[in-house]
Every structure is written in C-alpha cells, then in structure tokens.
C-alpha cells in the first residue's frame, strides 16, 4: 500500500515548531535592523538595506549553525531528538533567509550596471588568482568573496529543494545522503564568504568572533559526540535470553517495520520483507534516527531521517558504506513473531524468519 504525497506532513507539533521558526526569524531580523539604526546615527549611520543584508546573513549563519549542531547534540542526548526530527524545516528556513540575503545583495550591489546582475557577481572582481609577485595577504584582501556565497546558496537550494521524501525515494537514498552531506561544504564556503567580506569591509570584530566561535562549537560538538559514541560502543548488552513475542504477522505491512520496546527499554525494529521477518536495533548508527519508522527501499531498511541504509539480514550498510547496527534473532510461531532480546554485535548476520504460506496474507491492506 502506498500513500499519496502531500507537500508537508503537518501535525500539531510541526505547526508549532514552524511557527516558532518563523517568529524567531522575523524578530531576529527586525531587532537587528532597529538596533543598527539606533546604534549608528549621523555620518556613521548604516543604510537600511545594508542593515537588512547584515541581518539576513547573520540570521542564516545562526540557523545553519543550529542545523549542524542538532545532529551531534541528539547523539549526546535523546532530549534533542525532537529537534532532529524537525530539522528539515529549519534547513529550508535557512535557505529562504539566505536567498533573501543573496537576492538583495545581488540587486543592490550589481543591479544598476550595464551587465546583468548575476553575471556581474562573477565578473566585477576578477582577482581569482594572485597576480605575479602579489603577496597572498593582499590577494586575499581583494579576493572575490561573493561567488563563494553564491555556491553555498546553490548547495542550500539543492538541499531545500530535495528535502521532500519524494526525492529520498527517487534519487535513491545513497545519492540523497551524499547530496545532503554537502551542507558541510556549504558551511565552509559561507565561513570563507563572510570572513573575506569582513576583511574587505572592515566589519566589527564582534561578528568575526561570533562566526569563529560558531564554527568552533560545531567542530567541538561533532568531535565530542564521535568520541563519546566510540567509548559507549560495546558497553551495552542484555543478559536476558528468553524469547519475547513482539508482534503478530498481521501487524506488519510488507516492506514496513514496527518498533517494539523491551522491558529494559531497548527499542527493536521488526521488519517484514516479502515472506521474511528480521529484527534490528531501532537506532540508526548515523544520528539515532528511528529505523522502525522507515521502510525497506531497494532491499535495505532506510532511515526516515537521512536515508542511511542497512540490510535487514545483517544490519550492515551496503558497500561502500560501513555503518552497522545490532541485529536480533527472530522466529515465527503461528502468527506470532518472537525476538530474542539479546542484541548481537553490530553487523552480525542472522537468518530471517520465514512466514509460512499457511499463516495468511496479512498486510496488504
């Protein structure tokens, strides 16, 4: 059974979350401009358009920093999981704010010449390579930083435009994942774009400090989350070896899963694929996404958050990826699916349980 696509799968929480993002963005930009107007008067007064440009750029960087921080934060504490689950909308908001910045900057600084504005962005300053004998400091001081922002905006656009589940399915999870990993390149381009802009425009060192601090926070969070996961790995284990009935065959739709929680709070994702049943950890190795809420695409369990994939029979990502998740022994008795709650080491092959033909044709509603 398939469901018709809708633009957004709204629910009460997502509406609240999106309303908070919208109000936050508008307040941020409005406050930034008002404070800027009040702070500088007379000869030092900044033009309102300049203030809007600075406000939107600062807002977009702040949003992107939050987007990149959510992943490692959720790996450090499950309290951040709700943010992770709604991160796509924050990413789209980041693109929209960056688009306002890029569009306004293009037409404000390049819209009044004989060359069309987009071409002008790339051709007005041709100092892409250092001149002979030119010092690198001098070269950087005159480097055309605006195209860097354009390239970052293109990446943000591609990510926002492909954020719908339609793209995850039709580009293939692997391509989709690789495409969205480009966010780190976009962040690097933005850091360079802003840093070179600071160098050339003599903007306050406060901005430079905030940008450097944000980038440092992102790096530290990713490192800490990675180190902590490595330490934690191998410490978990369940001594209970009794088989537990976790679901009925009829509960499972083909290529879909069901999340079950054991007494020790361990969450297991049980999947039906054709006439077979497999059980794996519900926790994606990438960012703790709920695998049981995903589907089987191209023979692999596909995380609903970022498209990471695992083979149901051994919990391993298909080559060339190397992520692994714990697997569980599973068997079918009558219409019951039983799981042995003892988690096997990540990537351990387990023979799927077979659904006998006499069991019935459940799940084709």
């Amino acid at each position: 059974m398939t469901h018709a696509y809708r633009a957004v799968q709204w629910n009460k929480h997502k509406r609240t979350y999106d309303a908070l993002i919208a109000v936050g963005v508008v307040l941020f930009i409005a406050l930034f401009v008002v404070v800027g107007l009040l702070q500088h008067e007379g000869d030092h007064a900044a033009h309102p358009v300049t203030l809007i440009l600075r406000a939107t750029s600062t807002c977009a960087i702040t949003l992107l920093t939050i987007v990149l921080a959510i992943g490692p934060l959720a790996r450090l504490s499950p309290r951040f999981n709700p943010l992770l689950y709604n991160r796509r909308h924050l990413g789209v908001s980041t693109f929209l704010v960056a688009l306002v910045h890029g569009g306004l900057a293009t037409f404000w600084y390049h819209g009044f010449g004989v060359v069309d504005p987009v071409t002008s962005v790339f051709t007005t300053n041709a100092n892409y390579l250092p001149a002979e004998g030119q010092r690198w400091q001098s070269w950087l001081h005159g480097f055309p930083y605006q195209p860097l922002g354009v390239f970052a905006l293109i990446i943000l656009f591609l990510m926002a435009a492909t954020s719908h589940d339609f793209w995850l399915k039709n580009l293939s999870p692997r391509v989709w994942k690789n495409l969205h990993t480009l966010v780190y390149l976009a962040y690097g381009l933005i850091v360079m774009h802003v840093t070179l802009g600071f160098l050339q425009d003599d903007v306050s060192v406060v901005y430079a400090g905030l940008l450097g601090g944000s980038a440092a926070v992102i790096v530290v969070l990713h490192v800490v989350a990675g180190v902590r996961e490595n330490i934690k790995e191998g410490q978990d284990g369940i001594a209970n070896t009794e088989w537990v009935a976790v679901a009925k065959i009829d509960d499972l739709e083909d290529a879909h899963g069901k999340v079950v929680c054991l007494k020790n709070h361990e969450r297991i994702a049980v999947f039906r694929h054709g006439d077979k049943v497999s059980a794996v950890s519900n926790v994606c190795a990438h960012q703790n996404g709920p695998l049981g809420e995903g589907r089987i695409i191209d023979g692999c369990i596909t995380c609903p958050w970022h498209g990471y994939q695992y083979r149901p029979e051994d919990g391993q990502s298909p080559p060339p990826y190397t992520e692994t998740i714990p697997t569980y022994r599973v068997r079918v008795e009558g219409r019951d699916i039983l799981v042995n709650p003892e988690a096997l080491p990540p990537g351990t092959a387990v023979e799927p349980a077979l659904i006998h033909e006499t069991v019935g044709e459940a799940g084709d509603a």
Binding site: A4, Y5, R6, A7, T119, T123, A161, H164, F166, V175
Partner: protein
C-alpha cells in the same frame, strides 16, 4: 571573464531545458516514476518543481526507464 560568460550561458541553457522538462514532469511524468506521486496534491507538485528544474537529467533518465502507463 570569457570563461564565466560561457559557464553562465551553459547554466542558463541547462535551467531553460530544466524548466520545460519540470513542467511536463510535475504535471504528467512524475506518476510514471513513483506510484505515490500519481495522486500527489497540487502543492506537492509545486514543491518538487524547483528540484525538478535543477535535477532534470536524473528524473528524465528515471522517467524514460519507467514502464509506460496503460490508458483506460
């Protein structure tokens, strides 16, 4: 600078083809690739339009390899 003019011209042509393709794709072709998109809402089609313009070669290849719809 000639390089930039040439590159931007190529990008312009690419997007122009993408725009024409995307119009066909979101109105008719998308159902070939994905059953769930066949009855997708109008807003869903609007939402995938920009991505279809940008990534039209991928979708074109997918639409070509998809089985043709049987009328009636």
């Amino acid at each position: 600078m000639t390089l930039w003019y040439s590159l931007l011209a190529v990008v312009g042509v690419y997007l122009l083809i993408g725009g024409v393709f995307a119009w066909w794709f979101v109105t008719r072709g998308v159902g070939r690739c994905d059953d769930a998109a066949r009855t997708g809402t109008p807003m869903f089609r609007v939402l995938i339009f920009p991505g279809s313009v940008a990534l039209w070669p991928c979708l074109w290849r997918k639409a070509r390899s998809a089985p043709r719809e049987v009328s009636g």
